[in-house]
Every structure is written in C-alpha cells, then in structure tokens.
C-alpha cells in the first residue's frame, strides 16, 4: 500500500494518468463509426471518466505533503 501511495504521489504518474485519460476521452471521437448505440457512447465516455476520478481519489489520499500555511494557522484554531 505504501508503495502504491509512493507511486501515486509521483509527478510522473500524474503525467501518465493525464496521457491515459486524454486517450480515453478522445478514443470515442476518433474511432466512432456512426453506428454505435447512443448508450454505448455515453458509457465509453463516462466510465473512463469515473475511473479517472477513482484514481484521483487515491492520489488525493496518498498525499502527505505538509501544508506550511495550515501549520501556521494551527495555533489559531486552538
């Protein structure tokens, strides 16, 4: 799990995810034949979208970078 978090925190992973998401979002446009069923097109766009969101959720959870601004304000909250 820690290894996964480490990978998810890497900027290179973010770039890879961007590339994969871009491909996933463009694919239905490039490979469309005009004979697809409407529901399928929706699924082809929404499913990758949802998957990207899941990965982003994991990326957000994996981040452990300290927040300098929040650290400064902590005493104020007490």
């Amino acid at each position: 799990m820690r290894k996964l978090s480490t990978v998810l925190r890497q900027h290179a992973f973010h770039l890879l995810l961007l590339f994969l998401a871009l491909v996933a979002f463009i694919k239905p446009m490039v490979l469309a034949t005009g004979n697809e069923r409407p529901g399928r097109v929706v699924l082809e766009l929404f499913v990758p979208w949802a998957l990207v969101i899941v990965v982003l959720f994991l990326v957000g959870r994996s981040d452990d970078t300290p927040d300098p601004a929040a650290a400064q304000e902590e005493p104020e909250q007490d």
Binding site: R9, H11, H14, L15, L17, L18, A21, L22, F25, I26, P28, M29, V30, L31, A32, T33, G34, E36, R37, P38, G39, V41, V42, L45, F46, W49, A50, V52, I53, V54, L56, F57, V59, G60, R61, D63, T65, D67, P68, A69, A70, E73, Q77
Partner: protein, 970 residues
Amino acid sequence: MFRPLTLILVLCLYVSVLFVIALWGERGSPLARRLTRSPLVYSLALAVYCTSWTFYGSVGSAATAGPLFLTIYLGPTLAVILWPKVLRKLVRIKNAHSVTSIADLISARYGKSHLLAAMATLLAMVGILPYIALQLKAVTGTFTQLTPPAAGASWMVRNVGSIVVALMTIFSVVIGARRLDATERHEGLLLAIAVECVVKLAAFVTAGIFVTFTVFHGFGDLFAQLERSQFRTLLDTGRGSLPGIYQYLSYLVLAMSAIQFLPRQFHVAVVENSSERNINTALWLLPLYLLVINIFVIPIAAGGLLTALPASADSFVLGLPVRAGRVGISLFVFLGGVSAATGMIIVESLAVATMITNHLLLPVFEMTGLVFLRRFLLRIRWAAVAGVLVTGYLFEQAIGSSYTLVNMGIISFAAVLQFAPPILGGIFWERGNRRGAMLGLGAGALVWFYTLLLPSFVKSGWLSPRLLAEGPWNIALLRPEHLFGLTGLPPVPHAVFWSMLVNVGLYVVASLATERNETEKRLAESFVGILSDTRAHPSNEGQRTVEVAAKLPLMEELLHQYFDRFESNEIIARCQTAVGILEQERITVAALARLYAELERVLAGSIGTAPAHRAVRQSLSYTAEEAQQLTQVYGEILAELKVSPADLESRIDYYQERNTLLQAHATELEEKVAELKQAQEELRRAHDQLETRVEERTQELKASNELLTAEVVERKRAEADFARSNAELEQFAYVASHDLQEPLRMVASYVQLLERRYKGQLDKDADEFIGFAVDGAKRMQTLINDLLAYARIGTRGKAFNPIDTEKAARAGAANLRVAVEESGAQIIYHSLPTLRADATQLAQLFQNLFGNAIKFRSQAAPIIGVWAAYRDKEWVFSVTDNGIGIDPQYSEHVFRLFQRLHTRTAYPGTGIGLALCKKIVERHGGRIWVESQIGQGSTFHFTIPEREEATDDRDEGKSDRDLAGGGQPG
C-alpha cells in the same frame, strides 16, 4: 406558472438565505470556521465553474452538437490531474506573494510589472464582461419562462435584470468586498457559493431524475426511444471526422485552461484556498461533481427532443417540469439556474473588480496625481463591483440575443487561454521573462480578438460579412477564420491554434532572446522553486542593531496612504507578530527585512503585488550599515540552504558570481581609497614644502627689506646731502651774482665811457679791443641777471593766489612788446583759466616761452597760440608756435641749464630761459615738456595742479627748497 411578484419574493428569499449563510460563515464560530475551511466547501465552491451556461446551455449544446458539450467538463478533469503540482504551486505562490488575482500573479512573476498586470486585466475584462451578461440573460430568460405571457408587460418582468443586478451588487459588496485585503479569505462567501453549487447540482439532478424516471421509464426506455427516433444521431461523435476531432480537442484544451485561469476559478482555487490539503479533496470531488451534473444532460436533451418541446433546447431543463405542471420541481430548477448564474456573477465581478482597482485605477491615480484617492480604495472597489455588474447588464440589454453573447462562453474560454503560457511558463520555466510574457500575451490576445471575437461581431450582424468571406481589403490570406490560408479548421480550433502559436512562440523566443534583470531572476527562482523552498533562516542573525522606533514612522506613513491610522497600526502590529518581533525595541537587520517583506505581502493583499512592491521600495529603505549586515545574513542563509546538489551548485555559482562582483567592487573602492590617501599625503607634503618655501621667502624678503631700508636711509642721506649742496651752490650763485653785479657794472660803465670818449681817436685796433670789452661786459651782465633770476625762483617766490592766467600771459607778452612788434608776431589766447599761482613767475614763464617762439621763428611771421585744458585735477597749458622747431631727440636736453642747440652768433642767449621755465613749473608742482619736429614749429606743455586754498610760497615751495638744500633767501 408563477406571478412575477411570487418569483421576485422567492428570489429575494433565496438570496436572503444565502446572505444569512454567508454572514454566519463570516462570523467565524468554531463550527462555521471548521465548515468554511473544510475541503468539502472548497471543492464544492470550485464548481462555480458550472454557470448557467452549464445549467441550461449544456442541454442545448447536447441537443444540437452531441457529446461536444462534455469536453467542457472532461477538460477540467484532465487539468485537475496536474493540480498536485500546478495548483499547489499557485497556492504557495499566493501565500508567499499575497497574490490577489490572476493579473496580479502574472505581474508578480514577471518583475512585478504594472503594464503586464494592466494587459491581463484588460483581457479579462473584455473576455468576461459579456460572459456576465450571458448569466443575467439566463436569469431573466427563465424568469420570463416561469411567468405567464400576460405578465410580460409588468414592471417586475421588465426589470428583473435590474433587480438581480442590485441584489448581486449588495451581496458581492457586503460579503465579498467588505475588507480591502483581497487575499484574506471570504469564508462566508465561499460557504454561500458552495451552498449554491449544491443547490444547482441538486436542482439539475432533480430535473434529470424527473425526466428520466417520470417522463420516461428509466435510461433504458429513454435510450431505446432515442435510438428509434429521428434524433438517433444525438450522440453522433462525428464519425471520426478531422474537423470534429479538432473541435473536440480544442474544447478540451480550452476547458483545461478555463478551470484554472478563469478569474473566478483562480479566485476560488487559489486566492480563497485555506489549505493545500484541500486540493487533495478537490482532486476527485470537483470531477465527480462535473460528472454527476452531466449524467442527466443527455437524458434531458433527449427528453426535450422526444417530447417535441416547442421551446429552445437551452430551456429544456426548466421547460419539461413546467410543461408537466410540476410547480415544486420547476421552482427548484429555477433556483438552481439562479444559483448557477449568481454564483458566477458574484465571484467573477469580485475578481475582475479587484483587478480593475489594483491594476488599472491605482496606477492611473498615481500617474495623474490623484494619490489621495488611495485612501478610498475599498469604496472604489465597491464601485468597481457595481460597475462590472451594471456593464454586464447593459451588454445583456444591448446584445442579448446576438451570436456574440450566445457563444460568449467559449469565446471567454479562448480569451483566458492566453493566460496559460505566461502562468505555466512562469511557474515551470525560470528563463521565461517579462518581455516574453508581454509580447506573448499581447500578441495572443490580438490574435484571439481577430480570429474569434471579430467574426462573432460579423455573425451578429454588426460588421460586413465580406470581412469573413474576403478578408480585410480583399486580402484572402487575412480572412479572420482562415488566417494565412488555413482552411481545414473550424473557427474555435483555428483561433486556438493561431493564438497559441503566436503566444507561446513569442513568449519562448523573446524570453530566450532577452536577458532578465536581477529582480526577475530572483522572482523566477522563487516561483519555479516554490515547492522546494525550505525557507532556511541563519542560525545567527547578528546583533540587534535596528531601532524599531526609528522604522515605525516610515511604515505608518506608507500604510496611511491606504488605510486610516488605526488600521495602519493594526497591520504593523500584525506584521510584527508574524515576524515574531512584537514589542521588541531593537531587532536584527534580518528581522527588519522579514518585517518589510511581510508588510509588502500584506499590502499586496490590498493593492496588488506590483503597486505594493513599488510602494515599499519607495518608502522603506535600509541604511548602508543595515544593507551590509543584511548581505552577511544572506551569506549565512546560503550556507544553511539545503537543496539538491545541482541546485546548490547553480545557486552557489550565482552567488559566487555576485560575490566576485562585490569583491571586485570592494577592491576597486579600496584602490580608490588608497589613491585618495596617496593624494592626501602628496598634498600634505606639498603643503609642508610650500610652508618651508614661504618661510625662506619671508626671510629673504626680510633681508631684502632691511637692505632696502638701509638703501632708503642712505638715499635719503644722499638726497639731503645733495639738497644741501645744491642749496649751498644756489646760495653761492646768488651771492656771487649779486656781489659780481656791482664791479661788473663799474667795469661796463667805464669801458662804455672809454668807448664813447676815445672811439676814433685811437688806432683801429684800440677801437676794436674796446668794442670787445664792452660786448663782454654786457653779456656778463645779462648772464648774471639770468642767473639771479634763476636763483630767485626758489628763494624769492610769492604766495599762490588766484590769478587770471590770461593776464599773466599778456603781462609776459607785454614785456616783449618791442620784439613782438619788430617780428610781427601774433599771439592768440584761448580762454585761459583762473587758478592759484605765483603771478610774477607765471608771467615770466609765458614771457620766456613767447620769447623763444619769437627768437626761433622761421621765415614767416610768428603765430603763437596759448590755451589750457583741465585734466585729472590739473590744468594743462600749451604754447604753440610756427617756428623752426626742435629735433625730438633734444626734447629733454633743452630744459637743462646753459644748454644751447645753436651758436650764440646764430641765436643770442644764455641757455637759461627754458631751465628757468622748468624751475618755475616745478615750483608749482607741475611738469613741462615739448613736442616738436624740425621745421614744423613747437608746442610747449606745462601743468599747474589745482589748489583749494592759498598757500604761503615758502610752504608751497618747500619741496623745491628742500631740493635746493632747504636754503633760505640771503
């Protein structure tokens, strides 16, 4: 259908609820603070991205252009993937530099350039104001949709836009612009926006569920009916056509940029960010929000089409529940649309108003001498908010249904895309500089205007269609939508391609071609390396040498230009607390630097980074000693920096180079000091030498003076001896002449008696001898008389009384009456003056001069002229004649005693006459000289000084007598 009053009341009630929520959030109770700072509220507020363009326009777009609308939400999802790096950087930069807006960020990165900030502000204004108009149009449009047609003429329906503008202005000012510091988070505002985002999502989803599950029987039924209908191609993605793909890609790029660089997005995501950790939630929650809100776009669009809703596709969201008579859902959807529009209007107007105030008005105030207006900055910002909203409303009224306004969403996206190169380049590429950003942004904005906004004007019917078809001046290569012959792209991809090519190209080329100044280098390093900034402080900051009391008035004076005294003191105290030096009397110079930086940061929060930087630089400064100490402290900071080896090496290279320069400068200064010292030493040596020389010279002068004094004494003695000798000689001559007169008269008498008695009785020789004796006796008598006369000048002179000199001259001439008559001489007198003189001697003087003129006459009868002129307190007399003249070489010789220029036989005389004249003149204190040429006559000049009172002849002639040895008349 609702009565207009009911809708207005609902609208006011809804805004009031939002107002209460916002105020509750602003009060800062522990619960409110936890809520407003929660990542949930931050992430939901980011959904302000979804405006009425999303709420109503997505359905319209889906019904007409298929899945293309999804790019507007897929693009942000793609952009969000990079937020862990990009947005975190922006947030940290905002905290470090107190960035207030997107224009402020660009300005802060590129040398705090005012011009760049102004350019960005103008671009944002042009791109965003019509976008606000679009939101107002949506609100008024849905208001009309919910009221019966008969109510169209009512005052409320006609003025719903004005009411919304008024409500939004009050809301924005009270909640969003209560304080001057734009970097301070507006927790209440953020909470209200988040609530609005929840409302619009809930309203849209409600509408979607209603259409999908009430109007139809679920997604299956809906899509089945769609497949069987003529609208089967609703989800046609273009069958892979290139124009469709270009359009799709360009929309993705535009949306990726818009989610970060639209002014309202930047404001919520960066300026209102309270913690970098909130980004982790926004990473997935914002895309999730976008996904959810889009789930029902296609069903609603399909529902509207399949049920043959007569209205425009943009109104399907509201039209379907209205047609079904679902009052509650309709009202809820209306409020959702209002939320979508007002959320955008409030945040966008605040962001743009802040930019206008800080980057357009403030510099104008400073340039035009209206600096006193800086004290009213907060009120001016309120006015700017109202101005933005009113301008948006006027746009809506003027061009409400034009192509330009309807398509303003994507046009605005293309405008803010121009911010992407300078911002992304600014936080990732150190080499990017101000010139590059300025050129890129300026040129990109121009291309955007030409290729996208201008064609929209043509399509709205405001300009001739020939501009698009044939290009300006019929130059096909300049056709706005087919620039340089690029015909394969639809308008939006075409504009994106050219504007980005120009923007990025110029940014990179100009940045590489021009150098950055020191400020730009420092800022670039700070921006690019912001995430690795360890903010190391030196372990030893040196002595506490800075008197805080001496610096406080400067800071107060600076802040008082923008705030009142109380606020100024409060800010200073806050900065002192932040730096940790509150109530300290003396601080280190490093603490002073941090205090100045904190003050600039806080001030930047109110007036923007560039104005704050300039204000602090102008008002707060370091003494030379403080600057030196600061340099030492920075050296220690460098030593304690913990960075990667490569970074450290590059930084050390930079500081070494700087240190080398400073050392070279120090060496140069030392050399100059040494030169100055050497020059001073040489000067001192020269001074000593000069003093020695002066001393020696003084001794020499003393010796010379003594010698001179001795010589003067000797000379005086010699003169006295000479005078005495002269006097004795004169006395001797007088006595001798006087005593010789008697025997000589006897000799002459008897010789003449002999001549009379015996002439002709003796032989011839005896007669001749007796004649010689008589002649010699006569000449001797004449000589003795002349000598006596000469001697008497000094001894028998009379007092100087006022005399008429003409009378004296005439008296002299009268003594020569016989000679005058014999020679036929003519004497002309020219108004001679009256002056103090010895009348007898003066008559004798004239007599001698006239006598000479007659004696030494030429062939012609003598003409003698006498005149006088007053010069320099003396009278100058001139006696001129037409005689034989005198050789100039003898002009002084003639005045000597017994000196003759001719033989006695040629011109008889004793040679005493002119010497006597000279003596008379000298006795009167004057001078005598002659000007003459042989054969051209002579002019004798003599001077008689003017005297105030009569003087005794002895006194007056004292000098003469002195020269004569001080002898007394015998």
